[in-house]
């Protein structure tokens, strides 16, 4: 399941749903990316997507990851719009028979979402707003899987 949504969500509720009824899956890894307040320097985040294209692009990387890591299933839920500190920006879950594949696939999906998925992120704070671009570390992280 791949979903963009403007409303806040609880990563635990998504994990509950994702684990339910699995009797042949051995390992479920989840990643929850939370908006950091940076001790007051960030009042909120603004996430922009390209509706339709963003879901399709994530769908392509998800299908490739499912095949590459032999996943049973995966889930990606990503917030768009205004996000307050402490709220979840992104939730990724992966399910596989064994743990290594589930860890690697979640790690891989997050590296992709950080620097290659069609999202644009703006930080708002008391000193104004700035667009966040992927860091060199983000680029290097994503390149590990090329």
């Amino acid at each position: 399941m791949i979903r963009l949504q403007a409303e806040p969500f609880d990563p635990g509720a998504l994990l509950t749903a994702f684990c339910e009824g699995r009797t042949q899956t051995g390992a479920v890894v989840s990643f929850s990316g939370l908006a950091r307040g940076e001790a007051g320097a960030v009042t909120d985040l603004e996430l922009e997507a390209y509706p339709g294209f963003t879901e399709a692009e994530i769908g392509r990387i998800a299908a490739a990851a499912q095949a590459r890591f032999g996943l049973d299933d995966l889930m990606v839920v990503h917030r768009i719009g205004r996000i307050a500190p402490g709220e979840t920006i992104v939730f990724v879950a992966t399910a596989s028979a064994h743990r290594r594949a589930a860890f690697e696939a979640a790690d891989h999906l997050m590296d992709y979402l950080k620097s290659r998925a069609p999202f644009w992120k703006k930080e708002h704070g008391p000193d104004g707003a700035r667009w966040i671009e992927p860091t060199e570390q983000d680029q290097a992280d994503a390149a590990r899987w090329d």
Binding site: G33, L47, E48, Y50, G52, F53, A56, E57, H78, I89, V90, M110, L113, K114, S115, R116, A117, P118, F119, W120, K121, K122, W131, I132, E133, P134, D138
Partner: protein, 81 residues
């Protein structure tokens, strides 16, 4: 006629996010020149490192024809998560 979309800081620089260009120029490069013609800051931002384009929601590399194309998006470096 082609719909042009700007995302992220490109939209902030231009002061618009969506615009219709009619008639559509023949190529992506011609469209880029046209929308930057009266806005040097946007022209510079569009030529910036890491700006990508999607033509009818397919990532494009290099110049392409806009024949029968409905939508072109200019996208600055992406960052989600």
């Amino acid at each position: 006629m082609v719909r042009v979309l700007l995302f992220g800081r490109l939209a902030d620089v231009a002061g618009w996010r969506e615009r219709t260009v009619d008639p559509a120029p023949a190529t992506l490069s011609a469209l880029q020149r046209l929308i930057g013609a009266d806005d040097p800051q946007l022209a510079e931002a569009l030529a910036g490192v890491g700006v990508r384009t999607a033509v009818d929601q397919v990532l494009s590399r290099g110049d392409v024809s806009l024949d029968a194309v409905k939508e072109v998006a200019f996208m600055p470096p992406m960052s989600g998560g």
